[in-house]
């Protein structure tokens, strides 16, 4: 479901599912929680391969953000279409920093 990669001390998590919906959200949340519990605090979530997220998926993201706490950052890269639309609609674009691509997200988090 996820593939990870460290760049400039930032953990890049690529979501390899087209949909983060209620059937996938619990596992998704657990997998990210593992990364956080392993000590990662600067995380970029690459959603460029995702074309649908529902409120369960979005809730899982928020839950990760809370787990990470103020000491860390969770940035989102490559959200388009229905995914970026959901962030805007729910005002979650004020909560997560949205980046057009992974490179710009990594640059910001590692700066």
């Amino acid at each position: 479901m996820l593939s990870t990669d460290v760049r400039k001390n930032v953990l890049v998590v690529r979501v390899a599912e087209k949909r983060i919906d209620a059937s996938k959200a619990p596992l998704f949340k657990d997998e990210i929680a593992k990364c956080i519990d392993a000590g990662q605090s600067q995380i970029v979530l690459d959603l460029s391969g995702v074309d649908f997220i529902d409120s369960s998926g979005l809730g899982a993201l928020v839950s990760c953000l809370k787990r990470l706490g103020p000491r860390g950052s969770l940035a989102v890269a490559g959200a388009t279409g229905a995914v970026s639309r959901l962030f805007t609609l729910t005002r979650m674009d004020k909560v997560f920093t949205l980046h057009p691509n992974v490179d710009s997200a990594v640059d910001q988090l590692s700066a």
């Binding site: 919906d21 209620a22 059937s23 649908f52 529902d54 409120s55 369960s56 639309r85 729910t90 979650m92």
Partner: protein, 147 residues
Amino acid sequence: MVSSISLSIDSDLDKVSLLSRAVRALCEDFLTADELDAVELSLVEAINNVIKHGYHGEKGKDVQVAVGLQTEQIVIDVIDHAPPMAPDVLEQPSDDPFNFDEADLAQIPEGGMGLALIRMNMDEVEYLSNESENRLRMVKRIERPAS
């Protein structure tokens, strides 16, 4: 054009994407990409609610979706045979869960967003419940390009 088709799955979260894919294909000629996204999201939220809250995650129960393609609107009914939801649940103001202070992490919602999203994404939402079934009716108006 008044045409209708009905689709059903059992109450399994893994099957929701199938249903939404089929419904999206049915609506494709009548809505913009943004409107299709709005309908798909609403449908998925409605079905998730039936499975999670109505049937408490139990599989093997019936979830039915009726799609009515009318000249000026698309009517999507999500029908179940679970205990009905509380009548006041739908009444809350539409943007409620998203009125958070983004600076306060504790306020950011992890759930409770589904019905609000449905109300924001559809033009009409109505819940009809009787002895035999519950029916969440969601209407999306077809906006034709001025010609």
